[in-house]
């Protein structure tokens, strides 16, 4: 077990090995985890060791660097894909009340959902836009660096047993109908209407290593930055700032903020609690 492999006497060794592993992953595969939260990465790496028969992080590195398929699996270990529909209903409510009226004044607009995971968030957004009569006027980019979650997102098929929670969130978020208006049940699963995805382009995009999207009116990037160290958070907020049109809107997760970021001054706060910010003009 893990705790017999590493303990307080070789804690430094563990840190060195993890650092080398992340460097190796970057050089070999281009995925850059070097500025992710160290405590989080350590936990995930030790978890992988714990369920394997490998005796050290160095041995794990050997496998990760040489075996691409194993790396893909390891990539899963490192990323957290936990998500839900209308997560933080208050946020969606605020979006509906404070941002939608503004979008209604545009003939056409672009939205970027960064770190969309298995799609629940972007389907929620589509439903909201449809109810507000805006779905036909927009283009949505839903991106993630994990191809695996993007495949699930494209399908829009979820387990039936979690739908009740989604229903509750939907109601709390100020939904205008019933969530079941948007999906069909089949064999313990629910399948969301294809119409909801008409305006969505799902794409592989890495926030750390890929470039900006041009002239976006609204960005949702929620519960992604919490995994980043401050320097990397700053970098990615800079990327968002560049991608947004003047007066464009940035929405972060409820425990994420531009407070203390070097870009803080470039945004004004629309909703402090729901973490909705507006890019200043000029």
């Amino acid at each position: 077990m893990v705790d017999s492999l590493y303990n307080e006497s070789n804690a430094d060794l563990l840190n060195i090995e993890i650092k080398l592993l992340m460097e190796g992953v970057f050089l070999r595969y281009g995925y850059d985890f070097r500025n992710y939260s160290k405590a989080h990465i350590k936990r995930r790496v030790l978890h992988r060791l714990g369920i394997s028969t490998l005796s050290s992080v160095s041995r794990l590195q050997d496998l990760v660097l040489r075996d691409r398929e194993f790396f893909i699996e390891f990539l899963d270990d490192l990323s957290i894909n936990v998500t839900e529909m209308f997560r933080d209903p208050e946020f969606f409510k605020s979006l509906r009340e404070k941002i939608i009226p503004k979008l209604k004044t545009y003939p056409y607009f672009k939205i970027w959902v960064a770190g969309c995971s298995t799609g629940e968030e972007v389907y929620s957004l589509s439903i909201l836009l449809k109810e507000e009569g805006l779905l036909e006027r927009c283009q949505i980019y839903a991106t993630d660096f994990s191809r695996k979650v993007l495949e699930i997102a494209k399908e829009g098929v979820y387990q039936k047993n979690i739908i009740e929670q989604f229903e509750t969130n939907y109601r709390l978020s100020g939904g205008k109908g019933k969530l079941s208006d948007y999906y069909k049940s089949r064999y313990g699963s629910v399948i969301f209407e294809k119409e909801l995805t008409n305006k969505i382009v799902f794409a592989d995009h890495n926030l750390v290593t890929d470039t900006v999207f041009a002239d976006v009116n609204l960005i949702l990037c929620r519960n992604v930055l919490i995994y980043f160290e401050k320097s990397l958070q700053d970098k990615v907020i800079g990327l968002f700032c560049e991608s947004l049109v003047p007066s464009g809107i940035l929405c972060l997760g409820t425990k994420e903020s531009i407070k203390f970021s070097m870009y803080e001054k470039l945004f004004e706060i629309i909703d402090e609690k729901s973490r909705i910010f507006k890019k200043r003009i000029g």
């Binding site: 705790d3 303990n7 804690a11 840190n15 939260s37 957290i80 519960n223 919490i226 995994y227």
Partner: protein, 195 residues
């Protein structure tokens, strides 16, 4: 020299903390970091209340925040709280652990990596076994493990599990815990009042 205290509790936790935390007075030389299972809802009201009865400042731990001595931090509901080796906080929305998010084990384990033997871990009343593995790790790393005596706990399951797995050196009634903490961190009230 101890540099931090971590506390985990669930059922009965608010009442237990009301007995312990107000006894830690201004100048207390280490941070106190707490996971309380309180459900998915905001703990704003609870934190406000604790602030009104505690001399130390009580707040919710924020992502990337520098951990400061003399502060009492609570994990936000629905997030795991981790401690980085540069003594800042991280949050994650990882799967629940022991049916809990935040999980006591996850806080305790990351705290053990960060503080090693300079850490005090405390498991109080609670209805599951979260915290037992984390407390064992604190102990294995040379830190101090304390539990509330299960017989005196509103819900004995959690300290009992910790007792079985971590074999903590100190088992106390709730009322005895503040003095023990004060003694362990070498906090001499008279000294601090001289400044």
């Amino acid at each position: 020299m101890y540099k931090a205290i971590v506390i985990g509790t669930s059922y009965g936790g608010p009442d237990a903390l009301k007995i312990i935390l107000p006894r830690l007075s201004i100048g207390f030389p280490v941070p106190v970091i707490i996971v309380l299972h309180i459900g998915d809802h905001s703990n704003e009201v609870f934190i406000d209340y604790m602030n009104s009865i505690c001399p130390l400042e009580v707040k919710e731990a924020e992502s990337n925040e520098k951990i400061r001595e003399g502060f009492i931090y609570f994990a936000p509901p629905n997030y795991h709280l981790l401690i980085e080796s540069d003594f800042t906080f991280s949050l994650t929305t990882d799967q629940k652990h022991n049916f809990s998010r935040p999980s006591i084990d996850i806080l305790f384990e990351s705290a053990a990596w960060a503080y090693s033997q300079s850490l005090i871990g405390v498991v109080l009343t609670g209805a599951n076994s979260d915290g037992a593995a984390g407390l064992k790790m604190i102990r294995d790393f040379g830190g101090m493990a304390i539990i509330q005596n299960p017989c005196s706990a509103i819900s004995p399951a959690m300290p009992r599990a910790a007792l079985k797995i971590a074999r903590p050196e100190v088992r106390l009634r709730l009322e005895e815990i503040p003095d023990k903490l004060i003694e362990l961190v070498g906090f001499n009230k008279k000294n601090s009042e001289m400044f």
